[in-house]
Amino acid sequence: MRRLSLHVYAGLLVMVTFNLLPFYWMITSSLKNNMEVTSFPATLWPQQLTGEAYAEIWLNAGFPTYFVNSLIVSVSTAVLSVGFGTLAAYGFSRFRFRGRLVLMSIFLASQMIPGVLLIVPYFKLLTIIGLFDTRIGLILALTTITLPFSVWMLKGYMDSVPIEIDQAAMIDGASRLQCMRLVILPNILPGVVATTTFAFLLSWGDVLWALCLISDEAKLTITLGITRLIGQFRVVWSQTMAAIVIASVVPAVLYLLMQRYLIQGAVSSSVKE
């Protein structure tokens, strides 16, 4: 048993090293100055610790705005996604209407359409409606990525709640909607949290849609801000790494706070009759 323990910790150590190595490189590079970050061979630890890369992007390259924009867009997308998604998931989970399978297939199939295919037509659509270069347009676009996924996840969680609970509530006079709100949702709260977090993260990481749908500097998301840093004329690795660190902080913190829910949520979705 003790030997197993040693193997276990050794395995965990390997996992930790593998996972953290790129982060270590990201962070140490972001703390080097321009000259050092391109030296050959690369220094494994900054010879001169400096925050100039962070200062540069935070003060000069407009990153605070991008950060806030990303927050606004990602939170809105997640909320919209989970809002619509919960309703749809409840419909799929609790009802057996005709065409149910077809509709579910549509939701699944929509995940398979590559974004590249959709961008130009979507742009045209937005222009017609007048939503080009608005955050709303971007949020709607990102919802298409997160919505199908959210519906499937939430449906899985809902399926794990026995239907008797619905019936008990309805006997007490609850409407279907109240059922969903007051009875089902509280039961799958970890699942809802997990889904919201995933939806947030999916939209946080988007680059392609933001690139094409947003042109106003004031509305750029942080991912777009980073790709701007990497033009033909500016590959300052220290700044690029600093920006990526900033862009990864939010998701990392979210994981830290939500990790209990994420695992719990995933567990309950796997428990099927």
């Binding site: 050959f40 742009f123 094409c212 042109s215 033009g231 033909q232 004329f233």
Partner: protein, 434 residues
């Protein structure tokens, strides 16, 4: 009050009323200007200074800047333009111009030019530069600046290696590159290389093309209908590059991934002695590493050729031109901006900031700083010896095919002969498509 003054009062009230009614017509117009050079330090500063001047002279026009990374420019623009949106005024290099014209995305500027004097106005531009921006007799854009690609070298490194003058033939070039590849620290790894090549998509076309042309070859036939990649010159150029990389090892490792800025950084950090660059490179390299003292240490010479070669063309044009969105809502104001950018004074300022030759002959021939600059003096005669890359809509796809072939040969997934032969076939297939 007398009758006369009453009438005067009435008249002035009327005029005032009319003026205020017409007021909205002269209200603020916002023009969106987009340029990949806004994403680079040196150019960005220069553009913003110039535009501040423009806004002062035209208080009813406000400019909104839209930087875009060069690699994403066409993605961004084509998406917006296909939906009828996009910046009012924007800049393009020579490559995609014909495609933009074909898609109808750029405004025909001929009527505006006619108002400025038509042919007389255009006569100041080098005729060869107007080729890419003209289609069917209509002018769609105006060239802002031009540079032939030159052999750019670090004089100090050459002298240190005992090389008195820049190489004139490809054999000399190869020898020089070998001599300047070494380890700068005793016992350390090789960390200085004779030359480099840009093989990432960004900047590949300008640089490999001069090797190809310096060898007397080219990508396509002059009428752009046939591939010339199976010519002996093309094969020679192809093999030359691969041998330098694989046998001589006089290029830095990771050659397949180096893009234009990566190359400039290597030159700036004294890791590479010779490179093929345009005039624009000097301020940028100076900005990357002030300690290098780039203006003093760098020099430029013509692209090498093989002895006895009689070919006129040995270099490629880099050109930046300015265009108007065909669906711009403010064409008059957009034209004002374009005209402003083409003014002599603005061209001169552009040179001072960015070391680039103007598209206008009069500027290059009369502006004293240009005449006294060692770089432009080396470059000016090369203008006659440079040509554009093929100006056809299919060019981006053709160029990518050649680039991938070269990379495959370097990666040893194909022999050089096979890679080039496959590229030749693929290019012919692309040309054959309607």
């Amino acid at each position: 009050m007398s009758n006369r003054s009453r009438v005067l009062h009435l008249l002035s009230a009327l005029v005032l009323g009319l003026v205020t009614l017409a007021g909205p017509a002269s209200a603020q117009v916002t023009l969106v200007y987009s340029d990949w050079q806004l994403a680079e330090n040196v150019w960005n500063r220069s553009l913003r200074e110039a535009f501040a001047e423009f806004e002062k002279a035209n208080p009813d026009i406000k400019i909104k800047y839209e930087p875009v990374a060069l690699g994403q420019r066409d993605t961004r623009y084509s998406t917006a333009l296909r939906a009828g949106k996009g910046p009012d005024v924007f800049a393009l290099d020579a490559n995609p111009i014909k495609q933009y014209i074909k898609e109808g995305w750029v405004m025909d500027l001929t009527p505006f030019i006619a108002k400025e004097g038509g042919q007389q106005y255009l006569a100041d531009w080098y005729p060869s530069l107007l080729g890419p921006v003209t289609e069917g007799g209509k002018v769609y854009g105006l060239p802002k600046n031009v540079s032939p690609i030159m052999l750019t070298y670090n004089k100090e490194l050459l002298t240190a290696a005992g090389i008195a003058a820049p190489p004139k033939t490809w054999a000399e070039f190869r020898e020089a590159a070998k001599k300047m590849t070494k380890a700068t620290k005793d016992g350390g790894p090789v960390d200085q290389w004779g030359t480099l090549l840009v093989l990432a998509p960004a900047g590949f076309d300008l640089r490999f093309s001069v090797v190809l042309r310096g060898f007397g070859g080219d990508f396509l036939s002059p009428d752009n209908t046939k591939s010339l990649l199976d010519s002996p010159e093309a094969k020679a150029a192809f093999n030359y590059v691969i041998e330098m990389i694989q046998n001589d090892r006089s290029l830095p490792p990771g050659v397949s991934q180096i893009d234009a800025q990566g190359g400039r950084t290597l030159v700036a950090n004294r890791k590479v002695a010779m490179a093929f660059e345009g005039l624009f490179t000097v301020p940028i390299i100076a900005d990357i590493n002030p300690q290098l003292d780039a203006w003093k240490v760098l020099e430029m010479a013509p692209v090498p050729q093989n002895p006895g070669s009689e070919k006129q063309i040995r270099s490629t044009y880099y050109m930046k031109s300015i265009f108007m969105n065909s669906k711009s809502e403010h064409p008059e104001q957009a034209w004002k901006l374009i005209k402003f950018m083409m003014e002599k004074k603005q061209m001169e300022k552009w040179f001072v900031d960015n070391n680039l030759l103007s598209g206008r002959k009069s500027v290059n021939d009369t502006f004293k700083p240009i005449l006294e600059n060692k770089f432009t003096n080396a470059a000016r005669p090369e203008i006659e010896r440079a040509a554009f890359l093929p100006q056809i809509p299919k060019w981006p796809e053709i160029m990518e095919t050649v680039r991938q072939a070269l990379q495959a040969a370097i990666a040893k997934s194909k022999t050089p002969e096979q890679a080039l032969a496959d590229a030749h076939k693929a290019v012919e297939a692309i040309l054959a498509r309607p």
